[in-house]
């Protein structure tokens, strides 16, 4: 009986270990494939956080699944009648201390990391490019204070912080720059701001992520991260508004 119990416990730990390795590998390799293209410091931070949190969660999830498999295999009730009451679980001090310590370390770590990431997202360099973003059913428009430029496409230079000042002309929209990993609500009569620093040239996707009415699903726009020189040329090429 004791041998059988030891053997099943060994199997549990093996399952736990293997599943942990599998989940860690998933955390390392999968988010890159399924998250949108990373093109800003905030998107990088979001990706790193996703990977790190997945790795932290891996042993916990693996323990739960290994436990479930162990219980299903060795402690399943096979009778047709109501099963007898299970024996009371006796306290295991070692297990309790280990479990509580590990949980505390993990949760405190993710809390500290999360607060740090939040603080990093809210920080500003002091000289951002300001872009006013207006949502209305069901399009986005972008204007550049200090110029006469208003555009339906977003243009921003790379490696310079951008401050999006976001508002709405009608209902609440959600301004989500997918590739920058930032989003903020666009509320009528209110300006909300969010910062990010693009760090990769290319095309970006902008969507509304608050259900805003009939054609909410079609409310998207495209944007471009270009070099500072290309950005200046684009600004200069825009027609002056009367």
């Amino acid at each position: 009986m004791a041998t059988s119990s030891k053997s099943s416990l060994r199997l549990f730990f093996w399952t736990w270990g293997i599943l942990t390795v599998v989940f860690v590998l998933i955390g390392i390799f999968i988010p890159h494939r399924y998250m949108p293209g990373v093109m800003s410091n905030d998107a990088n931070l979001a990706l790193t956080t996703t990977i790190l949190f997945t790795i932290c969660a891996a042993p916990v999830a693996a323990g739960v699944y290994a436990g479930a498999i162990h219980i299903l295999k060795h402690h399943r009730y096979r009778g047709d009648d109501v099963p007898p009451a299970a024996p009371p679980i006796r306290e295991n001090t070692k297990l309790l201390v280990t479990w509580l310590t590990a949980s505390t370390v993990l949760t405190v770590f993710v809390l500290v990391w999360g607060l740090g990431a939040l603080a990093a997202e809210n920080s500003t360099s002091g000289n951002p490019l300001v872009v006013d973003v207006t949502g209305q059913q069901w399009v986005w428009t972008f204007s550049y204070p200090g110029t006469q430029v208003v555009s339906n496409e977003l243009y921003v230079p790379d490696n310079r912080e951008v401050e999006f000042r976001v508002t709405s002309e009608d209902v609440t929209h959600g301004f989500w720059v997918v590739n920058f990993g930032v989003q903020v609500d666009a509320n009528p009569g209110v300006w909300t701001t969010i910062h990010t620093t693009p760090d990769k040239l290319g095309t970006i996707e902008i969507r509304c992520e608050q259900f805003c009415g009939l054609n909410h699903a079609f409310m998207d726009a495209i944007g471009h991260v270009v070099t500072p020189k290309q950005f200046s040329a684009w600004l200069a090429s825009q027609p002056a508004r009367v």
């Binding site: 399009v139 002309e169 009608d170 009939l214 054609n215 079609f218 508004r241």
Partner: protein, 225 residues
Amino acid sequence: MVRSKGLGVAVASVLIGGGVLALAGFALASATPHQTALQCVESTTKAHTCSLTLATYPDSLEGVHGSSGGPHPDWVTYSNDNIDVPANTTVDVTINQYDTGGEPNNPAFLDVIGTNGGFDTVNGVKTTHVTGQIGHTWTLHAIPGNGKYLWISIPLPADNASKMPVKLGIGAYPKPEVVKFSFTTGGAAVYEWNCEFPCGGSRLGNGFGEAMSSFGYMSGTLTVQ
């Protein structure tokens, strides 16, 4: 035996539930009012060119809603919602604007954007930017995921020629503002268009309700095929 019976009941429940949900989805999709798509009329003189004529009305007593005006005869409307155009073709569009207007809520929609040549004509006068009041806009953009970007926005000046007619209805509209422009289609794709001037009623008073938030009035699709 009891277990396999239970498993069978569970599987059957899931299948039947899925079937009921699918049927409900099909029923809802079929119940959505569809209008016959407006076809672009191919030119007999110019190759790869076709023409469309649309109109905007201050009520629904004209256009596709019929002479009774449909369920909301007092709502503003475009003459058509869904439009079919051929691929790789120059589309000449005429919009007869019969409605009055107001100050735009967003100056971005005063610009003519995305047309061939970057302009339109208003009553024969070449225009790139409308000043003053507008009645509506015809703003076309891509649907997420179709991979083909297209953005056209045409401001339709308020019909100030004769203000609102005394009597609404067929034949009672004033002389329209005639807006003409052309654009060129690419490959097959579906785009969405809508008005960006808050011309609909709303209990919130922002003009984006009623006709602006219902299919078949101030929005539609443009299918390139």
